[in-house]
């Protein structure tokens, strides 16, 4: 192997090993450590200068205590459950809203499509934080929504600091991730197939249900994963739009780390979150590979 090829591979490889894989090892290790009032706030710490006995001693002090703690305090498993539920419901709503948009884009006149595509992508380039922030002004008790309702002579509603606000936030910020993959499957779809279905006796509506919808399934699945996976670990939306009852694991982890400074428990929370997400991530990869066939 020549040196150029070696360095071409080695540089990004080493970078990812050091800054992606090794950190996970550290998270795993700390999740097995104990909380301590010290700097860094956990024990034991590995002292490689101590040689083999030090390492053995270090290993013997690691335990699953933090994981046991996670199962004992119902805050954690409730937070996991609630994160998955909120993410799932929000993903479903995003699908219901995103599909008609993607469909209408794919069916729009050719010359319009680049513009429509740009309009969907543009919010994605805009700061996520700002897009979430925009809803605070709309949903707050004296916000634009309640002003409008009052103008129409309707009762004001409480939305901010509830789970509904979290749903709105997720749907709003992740909508492009749903629309784009669905649009790309619909846009690639051979229009002959719809004509063939009609030729064989389908009304246009039947042709949609029997041909268009089943064929856009890979895009729908990809879109759902792209919304669901990050939504489970979401921190910004529940902390800005959610209320005290909104339990989401990203927020719990953040508070465990920054407010309680319990690094070992925070690490254990992260490890379990990752384990939960491994299944959808693997399924997502499978779906993508199948699509590329």
């Amino acid at each position: 192997m020549d040196f150029r090829r070696f360095s071409l591979i080695a540089l990004p490889y080493a970078w990812l090993l050091l800054l992606f894989l090794v950190p996970f090892g550290i998270v795993l290790k700390i999740s097995l450590s104990d909380y301590a009032l010290s700097i860094p706030p956990y024990t034991p710490t590995l002292d490689l200068t101590g040689g083999w006995p030090a390492i053995r001693d270090f290993l013997s002090q690691l335990d699953f205590e933090n994981y046991v703690f996670l199962t004992e305090d119902d805050l954690y498993w409730k937070a996991y459950l609630s994160s998955v539920r909120i993410a799932a419901i929000a993903t479903f709503i995003t699908l219901l809203i995103g599909y008609p948009i993607a469909y209408a884009m794919a069916k729009a006149p050719r010359e319009w499509q680049p513009t429509l595509l740009m309009l969907v992508i543009l919010p994605f380039w805009t700061s996520f934080l700002i897009r979430v922030y925009a809803w605070i002004g709309i949903l707050s008790s004296e916000g634009y929504l309640n002003q409008t309702l009052g103008f129409l002579g309707l009762e004001p509603v409480t939305v901010l600091n509830t789970n509904i606000a979290v749903y709105i936030g997720i749907v709003y910020t992740y909508l492009p991730f749903m629309v784009l993959p669905i649009y790309s499957t619909l846009e690639k779809m051979d229009y002959d197939l719809i004509e063939a279905a009609q030729d064989l006796g389908c009304t246009p509506t039947e042709a949609f249900w029997r041909v268009t919808l089943p064929l856009s399934r890979p895009g729908m699945i990809a879109g759902c994963f792209l919304v669901f996976i990050p939504a489970v670990g979401e921190f910004v939306i529940p902390s800005l739009l959610g209320g005290s009852q909104t339990l989401m694991i990203g927020k719990v982890l953040w508070e465990e780390f920054f407010n309680n400074r319990d690094w070992p428990v925070a690490s254990a929370v992260a490890v379990v979150l990752l384990l939960i997400l491994v299944i959808p991530i693997v399924l997502f990869q499978k779906n993508q590979e199948k699509q590329q066939e």
Binding site: E195, A197, D199
Partner: protein, 391 residues
Amino acid sequence: MNQPSSPQTPARPAGPGPATAFHPWDDPDAVPLIRFRGVTKRFGDFTAIDAVDLDIYPREFFALLGPSGCGKTTLMRMLAGFESPSVGAITLEGRDIVHVPPHKRAVNMMFQSYALFPHLTVEQNIAFGLKRSGMEKDAIEARVAEMLRMVQLQKFAARKPHQISGGQRQRVALARALAKAPKLLLLDEPLGALDKKLRQQTQFELVDIQERTGTTFVIVTHDQEEAMTVASRIAVMNEGKIAQVDTPGRIYESPASVYVADFVGDVNLIEGNARPVGQGMAEIRWREGVPAIRGQAAEPLVEGERATLAIRPEKIAISRERPEGRNNVVQGRVHDIAYLGNISTYHVRLPDGVIVQAQVANQRRIARRDFTWEDEVWLSWSDTAGVVLMR
């Protein structure tokens, strides 16, 4: 189904033949299945179909032939119901079908892309149309089995379209379109995606299936050999108009215009001033100082009009000595030889630079070829070999 492929055998006797010959278009009492009357289709400023009148008879294998953009696909899509004419009427068995949506027409189509549903198996694809028609489950199964047998795909019934070969997909598309036993089957460039050998074989299979099912077929193609092989009649189209409708034999032997002569097969075109010489013959004066050449007049013509003599390369004889007793004789020099194995085409340059092609069957081995580059040769053909065309 696996007929030995011999492209030389015509699918049907062309022109007058045995008493059983099929030519309802010559029968004044025959009722057409499809009738186009004054059909025009405009897309914005563009006229895709221009005042077309056309009759297609039951059990015909009818070909729409023309280059891309000539309107043949639009004409077919009107039959399927995906386009409606801007002006004019289309009737199927005497009933106006212009406003009947595609899913209510007894017309099925085999798409150029095959348009097989990728999420359904071969079997489910074939059953798709039957299910829509509210057929009994048992009857559907029986019909699907029959169709699979017809296209010899029983073994692949459970496969998805991407798990079978291109030729098999083509057969699934055919079976799916025929499953509902339509009154009319439309085939849009059905063999375009197949390689040449498979295409030739499949052409005969198509003819065979058409004859067995007795369905009227309308095929759209840009491949003149394909049209000649399968069709009972061909409509040659050009820029939204029908240039000529006739049997393959007459399209080739008696083209109605320069366009048709040039589009179907190879042809030499010699332009000059025409003069009728009686008995449907005409003479063309094409160069000073050489004798005029003759051919059959396609239509009555007036002396002095510009006209073109169209003569097929295979009807021109090539010789070293001046042939005796022929009116149409020209002299030239062999400019180029295209050796195709079974035949050779000689490109002969006349003194004024015009190139005339003559085709000769290679009865001898190539080393014993009679003529070679730069040889002085004589070209000749009979009076009835060429056609004098006004358009």
